[in-house]
Each structure stands twice: as C-alpha cells, then as structure tokens.
C-alpha cells in the first residue's frame, strides 16, 4: 500500500508537534522516521495510524483520504515502544486477538497463529504471559500480533529502544529480513541513526516537527542537506573557514581547499563539516596544504580507532581503520578527503544550541 502524507500539522496546546509535514512512501518500502526525542516523529506515526487527529493536512492510503477513518477502520499494524501486549493473555492469545475480534473460524485462527509463532520464532513460548518473556521476546510477540490480521501497512514506534544493545542489534537485522520476506509497507520511528541507516530503504529526518531531509542512508550521510542532518547522523567535525572565490581558507591554518562543485553561495565565512573517516592522517606532509597536528588521544574501538587531534586553533576527531599506527603525542599531518560546506548563519548556532540542550555536545 502506498502512503501519502500531505502537509500534516498537529499541535498540543501551544506546542507544535508536527508542522506541515509531507512525504510519500511507496508500496513495499521500509522507511525510517528519524529525529531526536520530542521532534514529533511519534506523533506523526500516530496520526498515520489514526490514533491522533491532525489539525491540518491529509493522510492518504492508496489515493484514499483517511482523515475521517478511525484507527480501527484503517487496519494498520502498529507496534508500540513498550510493547503494549495484553498482560492478561498469553503470547498465543495476544497474537490471536485481531482474528478473534473478526470472528474468524477456529481452525483458521489456530493455523494462522501457529504460522506467526513460527515466523517470530516463539514456538515453545506460546503459552507464556508477557511478564514471563524477555524484552526481545515481547517485541517479537507484539510484531506477530500486529501482523495477524494481515495489515497492508506496518507502523513501528521506536520498537527496539527499550532493549539491550546486543538484543537490539539482532532484532534490527531480523526485522529487515522479515520485511524482505513479507514485503509489507512499513514505517518505523527511531532516534538511533545507526538503526535507521542499517534497516531502512529511505530515511526521513525530522527536527522540531519539520522534515529536514528525505533520502537513502547514503544520501543523508554523505550529502546532508543542512547542518542539523550532518550533525545528527553520524559523527562530524565542524570547522570554521572562509570562502573567497574558489578557495577555502581554514581558520588558524595555512590550508587552502577548493570550493565544492555545486556550492554557489557568495564569498564569506563558512563552516566545513568533515566526517571523522574523511580525515586523512600522514606521517609526512603531502603537498603544501597538509595541516600539522598533534595526536592527543586514541580510543580503541575494536574494528576501528578514534584519534583525537589538536591543531593550532581547534581540535578534530579522525576515524582510522588500520590499527597500531599512531601514538599519543605524535606529530602528524591532516588533510580533508571529503567535506561539506555550509554558510555560517544564525541557524548554525541555533542548531548547535539545540544539540547542546539535548545533551549531545558538551
């Protein structure tokens, strides 16, 4: 089922949760709504499910306006953050609920429930109550329950955020496989950019109730449309610089970079956004624009290593894939293999302030 969200807004009292959001989801796609806590992504999902009524705009399924339809009539599968399993029913009874409500035949129900229990690998736990299951198991039951009535669409509200890291990682992969098998149009909400990048066909980045960018994981990571997206998805170094004609001068260094293709703003102060893995480190200067730096910290992370660097006026973090090369105190040369450029403006500071308030930046 294709979904079209057209200019949807929703406020609670004075607080604008969703502010004129529009996007499309194609049949069979798995889409992530990604944003920080309180950005309105959950509210948006609830509007799509019919659990909230939008103040303005339209929710359209397969060309049909759903605004007047109740949650019950929309027949979407919804998976809640805290599972929302029926505590007085066993796993099996939970899964059978939608079918019982529709008064399907006993044999049909038993067959379908058995099939779903196998699908979510809960054979052996069918008679357990939710309180007897682990978090991961509960969320799998919740998923089976949502799928029972064969909904044309699956909506998941931060389905893994209450789970441990390793469990979360395994369930994320499992959900992707399941989606590929069932091919049901799915939208899931998350504040975890790794989860969004790993699982989804398309990411919709939301901030303060507005869409910041829509694109595949690679697009939003490598071609962020603004500084918020660049800072929120993955780690990033923010470097002050000055654009003059075709040349970029990085403050406090001798480095001279090129104006990137496609960036056509006039000369002036800019910021460079550089991913840690796009910072190249060498023992000797390559060319006249390599910037000297000192290694101030090394954080070993198993498959990768983070290297903290101090330059004359600012500090950077680089990500290295080879092990054993650098030591703290060593002098190195830095060059930027890839960078994004944004004009300095109030919005730059505003976003930085917002991220600070969220506790992301000290």
């Amino acid at each position: 089922m294709g979904i079209s969200i057209q200019n949807v807004s929703k406020r609670f009292g004075d607080f604008i949760a969703v502010d004129g959001v529009s996007f499309e989801v194609q049949t069979g796609e798995l889409v992530a709504l990604l944003g920080p806590s309180g950005c309105g992504k959950s509210t948006l999902l609830r509007v799509i499910a019919g659990l909230e009524t939008p103040d303005a705009g339209a929710v359209i399924f397969n060309g049909v306006n759903m605004n007047a339809m109740s949650a019950r009539q929309r027949r979407v599968g919804f998976v809640f953050q805290h599972y929302a399993l029926f505590k007085h029913m066993t796993a099996e009874q939970n899964i059978a609920f939608a079918l019982n409500v529709q008064k399907r035949g006993k044999k049909e129900i038993a067959e379908r429930v058995g099939h779903l229990i196998d699908l979510v690998k809960m054979r052996g736990y069918a008679g357990h109550y939710p309180s007897q299951l682990s978090g991961g198991q509960r969320q799998r039951v919740a998923l089976a329950r949502a799928l029972a009535a064969e909904p044309a669409m699956l909506l998941l509200d931060e389905p893994f955020s209450a789970l441990d890291l390793k469990v979360r990682e395994s369930l994320v992969g499992w959900l992707r496989n399941m989606h590929d098998k069932l091919n049901v149009t799915s939208i899931f909400v998350t504040h975890d950019q790794n989860e969004a990048m790993e699982i989804s066909d398309k990411i919709i980045v939301i901030n303060k109730g507005r869409v910041e960018q829509i694109g595949a994981a690679r697009d939003v990571y490598e071609e962020p449309s603004n500084k918020f997206v660049a800072s929120f998805i993955g780690n990033i170094n923010i470097i002050d610089a000055h654009l003059e004609g075709e040349a970029i001068f990085v403050h406090g260094t001798q480095a001279k970079l090129h104006r990137p293709a496609g960036y056509d703003a006039p000369s002036g102060d800019i910021v460079l956004l550089v991913r840690p893995e796009d910072i190249g480190l060498q023992h000797v200067a390559e060319g006249p624009h390599a910037i000297p730096a000192v290694v101030t910290g090394i954080r070993y992370k198993g498959s990768v290593t983070e290297v903290d660097l101090q330059l004359t006026d600012f500090s950077l973090t680089a990500l290295e894939f080879s092990k054993y090369i650098w030591t703290v105190g060593e002098k190195v040369f830095v060059n930027f293999k890839k960078y994004n450029v944004f004009a300095v403006g109030d919005s730059h500071h505003a976003i930085r302030r917002q991220l600070e308030q969220l506790g992301y930046i000290e």
Partner: protein, 264 residues
C-alpha cells in the same frame, strides 16, 4: 534480621495482638463456650433471618450501584481533563470525613417526611426514611469511595497503550472494553467491591439513624446485634456477631488468596 529489627517486630506484633487478634479470639471463645447450640438457635429465629436478609439486600444494592458508577467516575477522572476536576477528586473522600451518624441525619433532613425532597415523596405516599430506600442511600453514601479509590490508581498505571493496540487490531469500543480494559482493571474493582461489601455488611451508625430499627422491618444484622446486646442477650449477640464477622472474613480472606495466586 538485626537486633533492632527484632525489637521493632515484637513491638508491632504486640500492637496487632492487643488491637486485633485478642479481641477477635474473645468472640470466638464466647460462642465456643456456649457450644454451637447458640448459633443453631439464632438461625431458627425468623427475626434474625430477616435481619440477615435485609443486610444482604443492602449490601447487594450498594455493590451494584457503587461499582457501576464508581468505575464510570474513575474513567472520567483518569481519562478526561475538564474544569472542576480537582473539585470532583476532592469529593471522593468526603464520605470518609463525614461521621456515619451525621450521614444518617443528612438523609433524614433531606428525605424525611418533613424534609426538602422527602415531603414531595411523602405526598406520593412513598416512604424513604425508616424504610429500605433510605437505608440503601445511607449505605451507598458510606461505601461511596471504595471502588473509585481502588480503580483510579490501577487505571492510571494501566494507561491507554493496550486500548490503542486493541483499536488498531480492529476491536470496537465495546470489544476493547470487555476484552482488554475490564480484565486489566478487574483486580482493582474486585478489591474495591470487597471493601464495599465489608463496609456495607458492618455499617451501623448511619443505618441506626435512618432506619429507626423497626424489628422485622428495618432491622439489619448489626442493629440486631446491638439490640440483643442492649437486652443482655450476650450469647445471641455473640452468635450473630460471629456469623457476620465470619462472612466478612471469608470474603476478605478469599480475595487475599485469589490475589496471591493471580498470574498477571
């Protein structure tokens, strides 16, 4: 357990023993010493049987009315916000603050033959005071808060996630209520009902004022006990008290047992 805790434990157990266990054992002992014959005799008196039946009907009526309205009020308080909600919340506990005697008088003033509303009923030849309706009103008043007070916190903790889930799964409002909401709040309701029953069975002050204690007509079990005691029929009073206390105990203990066994 540390030494300080042990001393504390002994103190508390002593307090419970003096206040609760010893007095209860006193009644049991009294009936026992008279043999069970006093019990048998009591249950052969038509007056006594009528008194117990009246208590039964009053209890049933209180449970029915206060459970239904109390649950409805709980939903209104937890699920809606509106002007005057704090006032409504404040009112719930009022019956706890009003002495049962005063409650009885309130109803006499209002529903008595010369009362505000009572005079109108009197003109229609409908008796409220010194009759069943008045006694039911008085019992409803004193048992008013129990169901609300037990259901509200359960309903608040339960939230609306499960109901929303039921709705997205295609359940109607009615199906959601019966299959999802009710089973989730039933323990709070049962506990509230148990307390309502216990209080309705045992109510004395409000009922003595409203009923006039007319033998065979408006005499409840507690009034019967009081009457027998005043007549120095200690054995009969104790036997009746035993029956009444036993019924309340059994209900309370049964509920405690069910609670300890429940899975969810």
């Amino acid at each position: 357990m540390k030494k300080g805790d042990k001393i504390l434990m002994v103190l508390v157990l002593g307090w419970i023993a003096v206040l609760v266990l010893l007095p209860l054992s006193g009644i049991v002992r009294e009936v026992w010493s008279n043999g069970l014959s006093s019990l048998a005799e009591l249950l052969r008196q038509p007056t006594a049987l009528r008194a117990f039946m009246l208590t039964f009907w009053l209890t049933l009526g209180s449970v029915a009315v206060n459970t239904i309205f109390g649950t409805m009020l709980s939903f209104i308080l937890v699920r809606h916000s509106f002007r005057g909600k704090i006032f409504l919340e404040g009112i719930i506990d009022l019956p706890f603050a009003v002495s049962p005697v005063i409650a009885g008088f309130m109803f006499i003033i209002l529903f008595g033959p010369r009362g505000w509303i009572g005079s109108w009923f009197d003109a229609q030849n409908i008796k409220i005071i010194y009759a069943f309706p008045g006694m039911l009103l008085a019992t409803l008043f004193v048992t008013f808060p129990f169901v609300v007070r037990e259901v509200v916190p359960v309903l608040r903790e339960y939230g609306i996630d499960q109901e929303e889930a039921a709705m997205t799964l295609g359940a109607s409002r009615w199906q959601t209520f019966w299959k999802v909401t009710l089973p989730s709040i039933k323990w709070g309701m049962i506990y509230g009902i148990t307390l309502t029953i216990a209080r309705a069975i045992g109510e004395f002050g409000a009922v003595i004022v409203v009923s006039g204690g007319i033998i065979n007509k408006t005499q409840t079990a507690t009034l019967l006990i009081h009457h027998k005691f005043m007549d120095f029929d200690f054995t009969g009073a104790c036997a009746a008290a035993m029956v009444l206390a036993a019924v309340s105990f059994i209900i309370l203990i049964a509920m405690q047992y069910i609670f300890s066994k429940r899975k969810v």
